[in-house]
Symmetry: C2
DNA sequence: AGTAGACTTGCGCAGATATGCAAATATTAG
DNA sequence: CTAATATTTGCATATCTGCGCAAGTCTACT
């Protein structure tokens, strides 16, 4: 069975793309409050406590706590407990390489698809 | 008024970050069906009709039509009407540069924040 | 004109999500 | 040990979202 049919089956770039498109990350970033938190964390250049983070968005800190927990589950932030406060730090490296990896995977797939059509 | 206080006010990189973090894109990409559509469009390397696109995800084509319309509003895809069918094409260029721009903005803000703390 | 095909849109429903408040759980300070 | 502080979690509510179906548009074909 050669490549008579145009790849509808796992081409390597398609696999890479599917991995990059894991919904968790985007679900984590699809809320405006969470985006504010990410921006705030990025701009601070350090870890923030829940109370500090709460100041960037007009909602109750319990909500912020939930949002940060969600961002943590998605791998966007990292939590470090210091005494009675929890410091949330943006995972800049992981986040940026995921985003760039996604851009690369999109381009690779698109190019391959176009080449296959030529 | 010099920089005695650590920038809580519009630093250029923070402005760039806020622009990159527009919620629309992430809201568009936060749904698993829409992610499948994006992957399918990317892998196809061409424009797909609604009916074609519907084949990648197990839902009714009216839902797919809505999803594609939403992706269009977010600038993820482009619609071209040809006769009675509508061809949706992934905006690869725009998408990849947005993603890379976001990664750059995150890094820039983080680095600036760290330098300010030093 | 009339029919068939491709897509969009109105509607109602079911499930998910965000939010505030209050109570529970640490952990530090006195 | 008790009080105070920081965070998480249970609960109720309000809102949003995705879905299928059916009806409506628009275009092509005969």
């Amino acid at each position: 069975m050669t490549s008579r049919r145009r790849a509808e089956f796992p081409s390597p770039c398609r696999t890479a793309l599917d991995e990059s498109l894991e919904p968790e990350l985007f679900q984590a970033l699809c809320d405006p409050v969470r985006l504010s938190l990410v921006a705030h964390l990025a701009a601070s250049g350090r870890a923030l406590t829940v109370t500090e983070a709460s100041q960037c968005c007009g909602i109750h800190f319990s909500g912020v706590s939930r949002h940060l927990a969600l961002l943590k589950r998605a791998g966007v932030v990292r939590a470090e407990k210091h005494g009675r406060e929890v410091h949330y730090r943006l995972e800049v490296g992981a986040l940026t390489s995921t985003l760039r990896g996604l851009a690369d995977a999109l381009e690779a797939c698109w190019d391959e698809g176009q080449r296959a059509r030529a």
